[in-house]
């Protein structure tokens, strides 16, 4: 029958008994809020991880090669040659060595600072950036000569410049594992300039790094592909070259950051799917709550149904009235749930920012339009689905008995 009147009647009867309406809608409210919170968290997590990768560079390819100590071992020169041979895929390569060692400047000790040994090709002169994305601030990057002669020089991140040297670092000295290094360049700020971030780093010639950490079982090479889309092909080229050298794929491992990003994304997606499913169960419970209250409502309004039928309402008129009522109830519940979910997502964002001390550009639990749409759609659908049984019961009432009921 008339949608507008059914809708108004539904809202009216919801308003007349607010407590009962709230209890009826509680399951839907909780379920929808949970779905919104979970999808917001998932979305936020994905955005956060993507940002981290983006900061690092999405066109990076890492090749990890086990050292055998024999003539079989691949040399840095072989990797340089590979880049020269395939310029349409690879734009650069450098040895990349993580150094375990304490960084000191004066009396200060920097425990969370990352120290890497790299080659001069880690820096791209044309783009004025290093492979992991930061650009040069002051001074220069490591040079060919620095690397060849294993000079004790370093390039430092913006955080170290600020914290260790008070903003004036060029020409000054710091120590890594006791060995002194002279600062020749400072990187521009890239991350949020906090401890442990991508600005808390030191680059030294990889030839120096070899000396600082001897007896390493593997060598690491960092390639850059032209862009993210050529990463897969570039990875194949590197793998082919390594297979040619070792004849056994167990000796090396090549990973692209694009792949890692995708792997992380699908992991987060899977986690979200599972959590959403759990939230959906509470939606189901909400639906049963609606069905229950609708059955009560049909009984309470038996006489009304009889009156309507005596005035000419057909079965389908009565059915649609109750279905619209159930749908309206769950839609209102769903809307409340959406608002609650968005508020909760904001609260969680603020709590995480507070706990991690990351400030505003850290993790943000961002509700997705899609998540909101699905949650609303599902809640209306559940109302209609679980409203059908009571509505059908009402539609089938015998008008004589219904009129006599009180």
């Amino acid at each position: 029958m008339n949608f507008g009147q059914s809708f108004r009647l539904a809202v009216k009867s919801l308003m007349t008994s607010k407590m009962r309406s709230l209890l009826t809608m509680l399951g839907i409210i909780i379920g929808v809020a949970a779905v919104i919170i979970i999808t917001s968290l998932g979305n936020g997590m994905q955005n956060y991880m993507n940002d981290q990768f983006e900061e690092m560079g999405s066109n990076l390819i890492q090749a990890q090669v086990w050292t055998t100590g024999t003539s079989l071992d691949i040399q840095a020169e072989d990797m340089y040659a590979l880049v020269e041979k395939y310029p349409q895929y690879l734009s650069g390569v450098t040895p990349y060595k993580t150094v375990q060692g304490t960084v000191r400047q004066g009396n200060d000790e920097f425990k969370r600072t990352s120290v890497y040994g790299v080659g001069e090709t880690f820096y791209n002169i044309d783009k004025n950036t290093i492979m992991t994305g930061s650009s040069m601030g002051q001074g220069r990057f490591l040079s060919y000569v620095d690397v060849e002669r294993a000079q004790p020089v370093c390039v430092i991140g913006a955080y170290i410049e600020k914290e260790a040297f008070g903003g004036d670092a060029l020409g000054k000295t710091l120590t890594v594992s006791g060995a002194p290094f002279t600062v020749v360049g400072v990187l521009a700020q890239n991350g949020d300039n906090s401890e442990g971030s991508s600005d808390d780093c030191i680059y030294i010639p990889y030839t120096q790094a070899d000396r600082l950490s001897q007896g390493s079982y593997y060598a690491l090479y960092m390639f850059t592909s032209i862009d993210r889309s050529t990463a897969a092909a570039a990875k194949g080229i590197v793998e082919n070259r390594l297979l040619k050298a070792y004849h056994d794929s167990d000796y090396y491992l090549v990973m692209t950051s694009a792949e890692m990003m995708d792997a992380m994304d699908s992991m987060v997606n899977l986690l979200m799917a599972i959590l959403t499913l759990i939230a959906a169960i509470s939606l189901l419970v909400g639906g049963i709550g609606i069905m229950n209250i609708m059955l009560v409502s049909v009984t309470e309004r038996t006489r009304e149904i009889g009156i309507r039928k005596s005035l000419g309402a057909k079965g389908r008129d009565i059915r649609s009235q109750f279905i619209i009522e159930a749908g309206t109830t769950s839609a209102i519940g769903g809307s409340i749930g959406i608002i609650l979910g968005i508020i909760m997502a904001n609260v969680i964002t603020n709590v995480i920012a507070l706990v991690l001390g990351t400030g505003n550009d850290g993790f943000v639990a961002m509700p997705t339009l899609q998540g909101i749409g699905v949650a609303f759609g599902v809640s209306v659908a559940i109302g209609i689905l679980f409203g059908y049984l009571p509505a059908n019961k009402a539609a089938k009432l015998n008008p004589i008995d219904a009129l006599r009921y009180d």
Partner: protein, 257 residues
């Protein structure tokens, strides 16, 4: 002339365990347009059953019922609903207004189910309420009106759909005698304006306000004729019918006071 209502040998039989109850036991009668008929009888005589069948709320066990020339005795529920909507206007003892809807919305209901546009619904409901003199109470809820006013709203609702028959089931039963008389006078006025009215009552003093009386007993018609004929108000087994104080009221003086 074609009859508006025509019962041909109508039976309504209820099976109560072993025993069969003949609520209507071979009833034949006709009612023509413009008539004002009261169906009377003691409790259990079959009035409600007759009213349910006339009102297309129920179907007979056997026999045929033509309403406005259409055989409605074997119809499905939804077809019956449509007939009720188009041809019948009900007035109930308990008014049967929907408490959550205001007066206007209540009166519009039959038009809503007839698929009439919102604008026309409004207009016809207002006209109908003007006929019962309650146009100024349009926005009130039924609970804000007196019993007599509520019954007038239910009459307005019955009139709104412009029905062929107005079917009133004990319309004064819940009212005090003065308002009851007003409602009866109003039904007489409607009849004078051309509406066909069928009144169901157990009370002779009310039945005599109609032009014609059909008296039922044990599911059979025992009198059918002019309401002013002395035979019309003769109630058989009067000593048994303690519930039926209407007749007593008529001969003795006011039992209900």
């Amino acid at each position: 002339m074609e009859h508006l209502i025509e019962f041909r040998d109508i039976y309504k039989i209820y099976q109560m365990g072993e025993e069969e109850v003949h609520a209507l036991d071979g009833v034949s009668m006709t009612i023509d347009p413009g008539e004002f008929v009261a169906i009377v009888g003691q409790s259990g005589s079959g009035k409600s059953t007759a009213m349910n069948i006339i009102g297309c709320l129920d179907v007979p066990t056997s026999g045929t019922y033509h309403l406005g020339g259409i055989d409605v005795s074997t119809m499905e529920d939804d077809q019956q609903a449509e007939i009720r909507n188009k041809m019948l206007g009900f007035i109930f003892q308990q008014y049967n207004l929907i408490p959550k809807l205001n007066v206007q919305e209540n009166v519009e209901l039959p038009l809503l189910y007839a698929g009439v546009s919102a604008e026309e619904r409004h207009e016809r409901a207002v006209r109908s309420l003007e006929r019962v003199g309650l146009a100024d109470k349009r926005k009130n809820l039924p609970s804000q009106l007196s019993g007599g006013q509520q019954q007038r709203v239910s009459i307005a609702r019955a009139l709104a759909g412009n029905p062929s028959v107005i079917l009133a089931d004990e319309p004064t039963g819940a009212l005090d005698s003065r308002t009851g008389r007003e409602v009866l006078t109003f039904l007489q006025k409607l009849n004078a304006e051309g509406d066909t009215v069928v009144l169901i009552t157990h009370d002779n003093s009310i039945a005599v306000k109609a032009k014609r009386i059909i008296r039922l007993q044990d599911g059979k018609i025992i009198y059918d004729g002019d309401s002013q004929d002395p035979q019309a108000v003769v109630q058989p087994h009067e000593e048994e019918s303690s519930e039926d104080d209407g007749f007593a009221a008529l001969i003795g003086e006011g039992v209900e006071g």
